[in-house]
């Protein structure tokens, strides 16, 4: 068990003394290997706060989060004995807006910033940077450029490369594909599935795109108003009736299939995952 949430509550203090409760009684377990998890839920439902708990950026108000055997509670930092930094190398978190973390003169320096903080030597870090920049779909030529002259999508890729270069065991991404064009989005999702398949690492992605959830995820978590309301397989999620209550959507492929079933007045014997699967099914029927 890599990460374990036990009755985690988290509230932000507010000016008038009342507290805004961002997480309510979260119980959750995440495996170290082989999971491809998508985290969905409407804006403000606590998704980002939840992932910030996963590498001890914030501490729970009550309850505990155990990350690789290290228990993090509300008073953990005050005791001052627990080193939180090594955890952040093992659980790599990519923030939503890349402009929040790029600061160096060149892309290269920015990518090696993370690894060097965790004690990787300069040469090794540069070697890693040259590798990961290709993984995120940019040329090695980009390493010499200034991060501030890049487009939004390129900045995003560079910030993801900066986390990948840390070689985390678990990769957590907060809306990695927002603001990217369809091709860029598909390329990145392919990269994440590659990391998941080839290295057998757990990947956690926050997304609003139900197609991504349906196509890639092995497990889906749904947040609603600070509570974890669903934890299971995506196919089962989309056949429940709660989708609308949680302000979610149905993946395109499912609505197409349902439409076809209705129009042709037939019943397919399985729910297709991709458009190709649907072709085969339709061919069978015709």
């Amino acid at each position: 068990m890599a990460i374990k949430f036990e009755q985690v509550n988290f509230s932000y203090p507010s000016f008038d003394g009342t507290n805004f409760s961002a997480l309510k009684d979260i119980n959750l377990e995440i495996n170290e290997f082989g999971e491809f998890i998508t985290l969905i839920g409407e804006t403000g439902s606590g998704k980002s706060t939840l992932v910030q708990h996963m590498n001890a950026l914030v501490r729970p108000t009550t309850g505990s989060v155990t990350i690789y055997g290290i228990k993090i509670e509300n008073d953990t930092k005050k005791k001052g004995k627990v080193k939180l930094n090594p955890l952040r190398q093992r659980v790599g978190l990519v923030f939503q807006f890349p402009e929040y973390q790029l600061f160096e003169e060149t892309v290269l320096k920015d990518i090696i910033f993370g690894p060097k903080n965790f004690g990787v030597s300069n040469e090794d870090a540069i070697k890693r940077a040259k590798e990961v920049i290709k993984h995120v779909g940019l040329d090695e030529e980009y390493l010499k450029r200034s991060p501030f002259n890049l487009s939004g999508g390129e900045k995003k890729r560079v910030s993801i490369a900066g986390i990948l270069a840390m070689e985390p065991d678990i990769l957590v991404l907060d809306e990695p594909t927002s603001g990217l064009d369809p091709k860029g989005r598909d390329d990145l999702l392919k990269l994440f599935t590659d990391i998941h398949r080839k290295l057998n690492k757990t990947v956690i992605i926050i997304t609003h795109d139900m197609n991504t959830v349906y196509k890639y995820a092995s497990r889906v978590l749904v947040m609603n108003d600070g509570s974890l309301v669903y934890d299971g397989k995506p196919t089962e999620l989309f056949s429940t009736n709660n989708i609308e209550n949680w302000n979610l959507d149905i993946p395109d492929i499912i609505s197409i299939t349902r439409q076809l079933e209705e129009r042709l007045n037939i019943k397919f014997n399985s729910q297709p995952k991709t458009i190709e699967d649907l072709f085969i099914l339709v061919k069978e029927v015709i």
Binding site: S14, F95, Y100, Q101, F103, G114
Partner: protein, 321 residues
């Protein structure tokens, strides 16, 4: 960082809240000038009394003012000490030898260590520090066995004591007066009031409206930028930056990793804001109407009259005596 509240406005209903910001600013200036004109301890004590009466009628808790005085505690202490040590005129009030010996030195070190480790357990840290320092001084003057390391002479004169007291009261009055203003006036009202008061400066080509706009935008963006700073700190922390630990050299790098994105984001924000304002036809220096307008009431007139009377009597006292 979320706890920082900009402006210290606390809602209330007393006459201070009913006043126009313009009259409050003018009244503040009149009273401040009066405080600076006064020159003797007894007179400034009367002034302090007046301020306390204003606090009482205005319904502002004294504890709140005391909290406002906290940041200038160090300044107060410094001026007080220097006044006492360096002014050597008037009657000699107090005279003692301070002797440091080989026996008292370790005792003092012990006291300092004891203070250092126990200070976190008391709520009145400053008072505790004062008591400790006073204790050490008493020890130095009264108890001096063993061989002497060094010896010095502490003399306190009446003028020094009075001067120190006088300056301290003066500082307290000024800080209290300005705290009253910020406690009872919303930043936006304060800004509007300033703008109206600075309007005559238009004659010498200073545009008060622009200055007011700059101030209000700056105030508006402080919480936003704090929020951004917090996000950047989290993002860098997840890349292994530890803002609380680390060597000095690393610390500098960490601060750069916070500052550069802050600058970038601020410039981008100001660019966006400028575009948004232009899109809504904002032209600097053009005459504009306002959603909230200020209105002058009888209470404003009476307060100003009162303050002018205070100033007049202070000037009279100064000239006569």
């Amino acid at each position: 960082m979320k706890n920082i509240i900009i402006g210290q406005f606390i809602p209330g209903t007393s006459f201070l809240y009913k006043m126009d910001p313009r009259s409050k600013i003018i009244a503040l200036m009149l009273l401040m000038v009066s405080t600076f004109i006064l020159s003797s301890v007894s007179h400034i004590l009367i002034m302090l009394g007046v301020v306390l009466v204003i606090l009482k009628i205005g319904g502002i808790p004294v504890t709140r003012i005391a909290r406002g005085l906290k940041p200038i505690m160090i300044l107060l202490l410094f001026t007080f000490t220097f006044q006492i040590i360096f002014i050597k005129t008037g009657n000699l009030v107090f005279d003692t030898d301070l002797t440091l010996t080989y026996i008292t030195l370790p005792i003092i070190l012990l006291i300092v260590i004891f203070w250092y480790f126990t200070k976190r357990y008391t709520r009145f840290k400053f008072l505790y520090l004062l008591i400790t320092v006073f204790g050490i001084l008493t020890l130095l003057s009264l108890y001096n066995p063993g061989s002497i390391i060094s010896s010095s002479h502490l003399e306190i004169y009446q003028d020094g004591l009075e001067g120190a007291f006088f300056i301290m009261i003066r500082l307290i009055i000024i800080v209290t007066l300005s705290t009253i203003l910020t406690l009872t006036t919303k930043p936006t009202d304060l800004n509007l009031g300033l703008e109206k008061i600075l309007k005559p400066l238009g004659i010498i080509r200073i545009n008060a409206e622009e200055i007011a706009m700059i101030i209000s935008i700056a105030l508006r963006y402080i919480p936003t930028l704090l929020d951004e700073a917090n996000k950047i700190m989290l993002a860098q922390a997840s890349r292994g930056v530890d803002f609380s630990e680390g060597k000095f050299k690393d610390k500098i790098m960490q601060i750069i990793s916070l500052l550069v994105p802050m600058f970038i984001i601020s410039f981008k924000r100001s660019d966006d804001l400028a575009n948004a304002m232009e899109a809504r036809s904002f032209v600097p220096g053009k005459r504009r109407t306002r959603l909230h307008t200020l209105s002058w009431h009888n209470i404003d007139t009476s307060v100003i009259v009162f303050c002018v009377l205070v100033l007049a009597s202070v000037i009279t006292v100064r000239i006569m005596l």
